[in-house]
Subunit: 215 residues, 2 copies
DNA sequence: TAGATTGTTAATCGATTAACAATC
DNA sequence: TAGATTGTTAATCGATTAACAATC
């Protein structure tokens, strides 16, 4: 659990919303100087109360009768999300998803730096994608230690995911972004985020079907 | 809102969990014949109560003193998620993410069929990726109508996303899977799912930083 | 000053867990 | 039958919204 000011515990849902606030303040910057919780809520599709309560976990950023200073808030959120710090990451699994993430430039814009790629396919080892070298997974543990890797992206097949995660964690990685279609067995409180693409597509299928039924 | 048996409304959180149940029943099939809510909860990392309540929105699938028949439940979930029906989709935006999704074979395994790709870059038009042709976005509206496209994946840059969504919806698409880093302006109750990769990475950054602080 | 808008507490709403009668 | 386990209702927990004093 993550404590905020006043010893309050920051709910997980609030943490998940933080990057969204950051995105909106990025867009607002340059357009307006200040914004009220009311207006921001309208733009983001949430309530003014939620905006104020969410932000209040991290500080008193507003000013009565004025609202929030856009430039200042964007900077505060950048600090909260550690955007100015370089966070080094690697990708395990150079399949379609892995390759795409290698070339995905938005990572760089958010302060993430790709240091290496890992796979088991012999024919890939030694190659480079976007000037990032592919190594054999057996070298991953040492690589993490030597290069002080912060984050591991897992895009290997489902059955290999847990072993990869285990190696990463044992080697001192600080967090995992998991694209494999399974829940990983990590220690309680180990930082992890899951991106289950097919799950999202299937939930969408359900929504579509359910909507058609009600017609 | 989506009604279930007994006129209960199915909470959105339950819908989002459905694909996860399906995944686990897929894995269990062949391994065991039956499973109790207790055991399933242990494997999935949720409570037995939640398993039973979640499933109860869709039917009485269990048997007292026995549990749930794995093969049967997997089939029920497949039907609930419409997996046996072919759902046709297109991808707007042939950047890194779009390309990766084009080659992502898990879509096919879940019953999704990619029918076309769309972009504005003239040099891409007419090319094919994985035997799927790239068209100009100006042709998208007609393509959707003529080919009865169910789902649109949006992987265009942020500023183009809303216009693409508008065209899709106007042309009768039934649902959108959005990878663009923005919330789309869709009608209330229009089926949509968002996959915000950078948001997830940034939330992970926060978790890592917060954990380090407490040490 | 008057109006606007914050940060926070209280009230409400929704989701999860516990309890248990029903029954295989 | 006895033990196991369901489906559902009630109790609890957590998240969202409403209300408002404080104050720019």
């Amino acid at each position: 659990m993550y404590k905020a000011r006043n010893n309050r515990i920051i709910p997980k849902v609030v943490i998940e919303r933080l990057p969204r606030y950051y995105r909106y303040f990025q867009i607002l910057e340059g357009k307006v100087d200040k914004i009220s919780s009311q207006k921001l809520g309208e733009i983001m599709g949430s309530s003014a109360s939620q905006v104020r309560l969410d932000l209040s976990y991290f500080g008193e950023f507003g000013l009565q009768g004025y609202g929030y200073n856009v430039k200042k808030l964007k900077e505060e959120l950048a600090n909260i999300l550690d955007i100015h710090k370089e966070r080094r990451f690697i990708i395990a699994g150079v399949g379609n998803i892995g390759r795409a993430l290698t070339r995905y430039d938005a990572f760089e814009g958010a302060g993430f730096k790709l240091m290496g790629l890992f796979d088991i396919k012999e024919e890939l080892i030694g190659q480079s994608i976007n000037n990032v070298k592919i190594y054999h997974v057996s070298e991953m543990g040492n690589f993490i230690k030597e290069n002080k890797i912060d984050i591991g992206i897992i895009s290997v097949p489902r059955d290999a995911a847990n072993e990869v995660a285990k190696t990463m964690i044992k080697s001192g990685i600080k967090g995992i972004l998991n694209f494999a279609p399974t829940e990983l067995d990590v220690p309680e409180d180990f930082p992890i985020e899951n991106i289950h693409i097919i799950d999202k597509a299937l939930a969408l299928s359900f929504l579509i079907k359910a909507k058609e039924k009600t017609k």
